[in-house]
Assembly symmetry: C2
Homo-oligomer: 366 residues x 2
């Protein structure tokens, strides 16, 4: 079992990573001081609930916790105000009070939605993250919670830190391969922004990660969570340094929007975005290997590194403007300067980004 | 012009109270450091907007601010998730960004709703309160923002402090008399929980307050806001002392629910609740004058001090259980011990409260 702490003063919390933690969840809930007198609401989805909710409820109930479960449709569509309201209704019907907690059992969709319920219910109650995707090593740490509006992703939300993150590696064994790769994109990102030796390690262990080797996974998720925790500790509310977590995301979000949400997975979109950012980095003076290593490692993780040519460059640029708003043709952009290092460029030109989007259609597959 | 500060460390903010502040709003916005490059969204309602929105927009635009207004239906019904979503849509269409602010121009309904939009939009942007009711001297200070769920009031919300509160006494001149009295209930409450000499002052000046004498109003609202600010500074998130602000509210909320929201105004309901709390206080040893003064001052403010006999005691008790949940027949209750002083009784018996609800139907009118 690996353990680390997200250091946020009185809002600090532990992350536990290991095999079989779900079956022992009750002891972690007790250690965390969660009340047995007030009901817990466990939020999950159709793919995760049938597999893992019974075991979680069993251990909690055996220890004297009162639990109520709610199973949502899988997918980004559940991050809506309508589903948010239905979960609040469930919380009211179940009699959740100020000492209750909301428990997210699932990927980033469940985590973001359940977290926003916890942030809003009675102006904020406790919240536990039990991530079941690789991507959720990112989304479950840092306290960003949100739902979508038809016009914009994650626009309705809060900063609401969990009480703990309980990461059971066994649950990852049932992830579809495409989801495994998509999740690894954020793992690679955490290396690229912070830790060259970790990138090197992924370069040598991508195969083990894709085959869900428990030891390799445990190592990588611990490393990934540590980077996320370090960044968030320095800048909880994204006033400055937290922005580096957006490496590859400016283009990535635009690609997701243009493809139609759900067509291209988030991890796939940011993989292409990170290749683009590496290209820009090299243009601006970073060593050539920044581009080569980035592309190679992402490809080894089973991720796309080339923009399918049917994407319309104008549409991608429009989506970017809508998202981040270039002010007078300039925008904030995260640019790699070396492997394991990035800088925040507050004055990136839209023209350069457009050229790079064009180039991404020409990338050779690895 | 009167001024005070709500002392909350880095979240501290000023309250300005005076005549004609709306016409000079731009200079306060500038002093507050609000950005002219990002649009402001002004939220108001049908009764307030036609009267005061044009003047507010005029001064702001003249100073170079970009403003967009949205006018909601008046009344508690606007504190819903559906209206919340429509305001978020407006904010997106208007291009609000991280440096924008949401401005609430109206009573507590507009303030609570607009504040929750500000708390949620992009996980929190700035927020300005321009209260236009007497009741809103209470709701605009302290950062509690929320919308209702069909099953429970204020259940979906956040703590989100404004950047400033700008209280223009001139706007109060158009308030209907019943709203004036209802607002005075919270003014009286602030005296009863904190400041005997202020209660004494209200006793002698209730007539001036009801006729909206500017000097008396300015004094009373400054006093009321000061008490609220002092309590909130000590306990922003209602872990302990902030609970005293609930004097009269346990019964009050139940009466509102039983009457059907909107039938009995919030201030009317808590007025009856404060008479009941005073009675219990005397039963438990407070001097008889606690009851007499409470009742007299509320009546002088034009407020009901007797529970109409058609209210069903069982229904009132049920509503209370639903709201606060007696645990084994016991609940938290705010009990006056002297004029200007209350204590938090965490072990009040449901039986005693029921007896008191019965007695409230027998109160003599003053
Ligand atoms: N809050 C943050 O900081 C943050 C960071 C990154 C991403 N996100 C959000 O995370 C979301 C994406 O997260 P995600 O990729 O985990 O998506 P997801 O939650 O939709 O999970 C992906 C798919 O895998 C299924 N699944 C989950 N766990 C499984 C398991 N153990 N076995 C089999 N199937 C399983 C899900 O049902 C779903 O179909 C997006 O909404 C994104 O905005 C948030
Ligand atoms: N956030 C808090 O701490 C807190 C505290 C107390 C009450 N509240 C909330 O405040 C709300 C009640 O506030 P309220 O009593 O101000 O209600 P309100 O906002 O509904 O205003 C009362 C009525 O007066 C009208 N009005 C407002 N200003 C006017 C003016 N200057 N001239 C003419 N008409 C005017 C409104 O259109 C409305 O019809 C409730 O929803 C309650 O939950 C919140
Ligand atoms: Zn991401
Ligand atoms: Zn009140």
């Amino acid at each position: 079992m690996r353990e680390l702490t997200v250091d946020l003063g009185e809002r600090s919390y532990p992350i536990y990573i290991g095999e079989g933690l779900l079956r022992e969840a009750a002891s972690y809930f007790e250690k965390c001081g969660l009340s047995k007198r007030s009901p817990l609401l466990i939020v999950t989805d159709e793919h995760v609930g049938p597999r893992y909710l019974p075991a979680l409820e069993a251990t909690l109930r055996k220890a004297g916790y009162q639990t109520v479960g709610i199973t949502l449709p899988s997918g980004e569509g559940s991050k809506s105000l309508a589903v948010f309201e239905s979960v609040i209704t469930k919380a009211l019907e179940a009699g959740l009070d100020r000492h209750s907690a909301v428990v997210a059992l699932g990927g980033g969709v469940v985590g973001d939605l359940a977290g926003y319920v916890a942030a809003a219910y009675m102006r904020g109650i406790r919240f536990v993250q039990i991530p079941t995707t690789i991507l959720a090593h990112d989304s479950s740490v840092g306290g960003k919670v949100a739902v979508n509006h038809p016009l914009a992703k994650n626009i309705i939300g809060a900063f609401h830190q969990p009480e703990m993150v309980l990461y059971d590696l066994e649950t990852l064994q049932t992830l579809p391969a495409r989801q495994v790769s998509a999740g690894l994109a954020e793992v690679v990102k955490h290396g690229l922004i912070w830790d060259a030796s970790f990138v090197d390690w992924i370069d040598g262990n991508a195969g083990k990660l894709r085959s869900l080797d428990p030891e390799a996974l445990g190592y990588a998720l611990h490393k990934g969570c540590s980077v996320k925790a370090a960044v968030v500790s320095q800048d909880e509310r994204e006033n400055d340094v937290r922005a580096i977590l957006n490496l590859g995301h400016t283009i990535g979000h635009a690609l997701e929007a243009v493809a139609g949400y759900g067509e291209m997975l988030h991890g796939e979109a940011i993989s292409i975005g990170m290749v683009g950012a590496a290209r820009i980095g090299v243009e601006l003076g970073a060593p050539q290997e920044v581009y080569e290593v980035t592309k190679r490692v992402l490809a080894k993780c089973g991720l796309p590194v080339r923009l399918p040519s049917h994407f319309d460059t104008d549409a991608v640029m429009d989506a970017m403007m809508h998202d981040k708003k270039f002010k007078e043709g300039r925008m904030v952009y995260i640019v790699p300067t070396a492997i394991g290092q990035v800088e925040i460029d507050k004055n990136m030109s839209a023209d350069r980004v457009r050229r790079m989007v064009e180039q991404l259609k020409e990338e050779a597959e690895v």
